[in-house]
Amino acid sequence: MSPLWSAQMIAFFLISLFILACAVMMLSFRKVVYMALAVGGVFIGCAALYILLGAEFVGIAQVVVYAGAITILILFAIMLTNHEATEPEEPWTVRKALAAVGCFLLGVTLLFVIRGQAWPQGDPSVDVNQGMSNTLAIGEALFKSYMIPFELVSLLLTVALVGAVILAQQRKGDQ
């Protein structure tokens, strides 16, 4: 096996740290706008991880869609509503405690499950891109074997677009 502290491994470690730090920050900030920015950090970290794993196209898409579009959209939404909103300091209610315990236990269990299994480590000899660049290979697959899901997703996007416009429209009856 390869040495434990290879360049890849170090990169992964740093990226993970960044992602988790951003996520925890999101939880702990109280101003909504900061939270949105912290999430943007998580998205970018994930994009870096994808690129590290050789999925350049997905990584770029992640940056464009998540870090770009979605984060901006969220910021817009915050601005359109009460942008001064803060999460109030909240006492530990039973529900919150239960949620914390539940999530913690769930995470611990999942980690145990992950530890308990022997995972495959991929097959170095196989080229997932079949000799092409990653973008080209994904394009081939999307327009050949995933034609119909692709079209359906486009339809879904259109519907979502139209729906979002209609929902967000100011209606006559409203002030």
Binding site: M1, L20, E87, C103, V128, L167
Partner: protein
């Protein structure tokens, strides 16, 4: 790096990252009081799933592109979801003047 070559990162570590991310997202979704942040937390959970998909695309038993393509679909659907979700939020905000989850409760008028 490209499509070939060994990846030394242990699969388990990436999955563990996904799991932790998922749990953080879940916690956020369950406890945040602002509806926007609940939506954001859900995006976090979707991302955790995506991490797993991409990891298996490269490190699964028979590596292929399906995982990556799936994660693309996920990203698309997530985008659609957040668009509709935020639109709903705006609509609700106009009526109720609030984005607090607790106040959006039809059971207790």
């Amino acid at each position: 790096m490209g499509g070939t070559g060994a990846i030394q990162i242990p699969t388990g570590s990436i999955l563990a990252l996904g799991a932790i991310l998922f749990c953080i997202g879940l916690y956020g979704a369950l406890t945040k009081r602002n509806l926007i942040m609940v939506l954001v937390s859900i995006e976090l959970m979707l991302n955790a799933a995506n991490v797993n998909l991409v990891a298996f695309s490269r490190l699964g038993v028979s590596p292929n592109l399906n995982g990556q393509i799936f994660s693309l679909f996920t990203i698309t659907v997530a985008a659609a979801e957040i668009a509709v979700g935020l639109a709903l939020l705006l609509a609700v905000f106009r009526v109720r003047k609030t984005t607090e989850v607790r106040d959006l409760d039809l059971h207790r008028r």
